[in-house]
Subunit: 140 residues, 2 copies
DNA sequence: TATTGTTATACTCTATAACTATA
DNA sequence: TATAGTTATAGAGTATAACAATA
């Protein structure tokens, strides 16, 4: 019996996941570019569209250094998509929040991400349920 | 009946795929960094470990501009992991090929990618077969 | 003329370290 | 003294345009 790490089935699944990852990234970058945004800018804008938050927390969510967020938010702010607000509770903190236009852009970004439709459209409800449960266990 | 694009089940699957993508990337970058490579360098080295190829074809595979490959291969070459060879059939072409050390690094890189083991280890053979078939249909 | 690889340029993202203003 | 955000710096990836060698 081949080891679970190197058996053909596991390798095939790993390869397929790699393909899904590549396709997901491609589509995400394309969707961002269609709104004149980089991938990082789109991720930050999407994050803030769910909930305004301190600069530091954006860095934690994106798993990068806080100093990088300064520039990304600078560029979003200079385009009028995001603004910095003071935090009444702590004057050291700056809360980044999307503007009206930023929220609209975030919505359109989500819509143009047809990774939600295209690849899953061919699966029935039952199949998507199975896929959901398998992915949940993979990530568990 | 909610549209297929916005129903809760589809959104949940899309969310899960996003998590898989994030985790895959994190582990890939970590594995690359553990060999003092960037993600892009690791992808090129892995590609060449399967088959030497012209600079231009590397760019096609990575879906980026050929001018970028020059620098990435420069850095791999300066570390002795890759070399440039002339193509006997066309003197314009340079074939990039891994060195012995490059092949060893590519092998160790693959081994340290425990994305193959960790998340799939919890699934039975039958479940991995189902997952494989669903992913194939998603990508088809 | 067309193609291959390279160079030059400019922008973005990234980590590290030092700085400022608050706490 | 510790923390939040910024600045300064350097390295890497990216696209664009122009170039030399070859086809």
């Amino acid at each position: 019996m081949p080891s679970r790490r190197t058996d053909p089935l596991t390798l095939e699944v790993v390869e397929l996941i790699g393909s899904v990852v590549a396709r997901y990234h491609e589509e995400y970058e394309d969707a961002a570019a269609s709104h004149q945004l980089t991938g990082a800018q789109a991720r930050v804008l999407n994050l803030l569209s769910l909930e305004p938050m301190p600069m530091r927390r954006i860095a934690q969510q994106l798993k990068c250094e806080p100093s990088n967020i300064t520039g990304i938010v600078d560029r979003l702010e200079s385009r009028g998509l995001v603004e910095r607000r003071p935090d009444p509770a702590d004057r050291r903190v700056k809360l980044a929040a999307p503007t009206q236009e930023g929220l609209q852009t975030a919505d359109r970004l989500r819509e143009s991400l047809d990774f939600a439709r295209e690849p899953l459209a061919g699966l029935s409800t039952a199949e998507r349920t199975v896929l959901r449960d398998l992915l949940k266990r993979m990530l568990g």
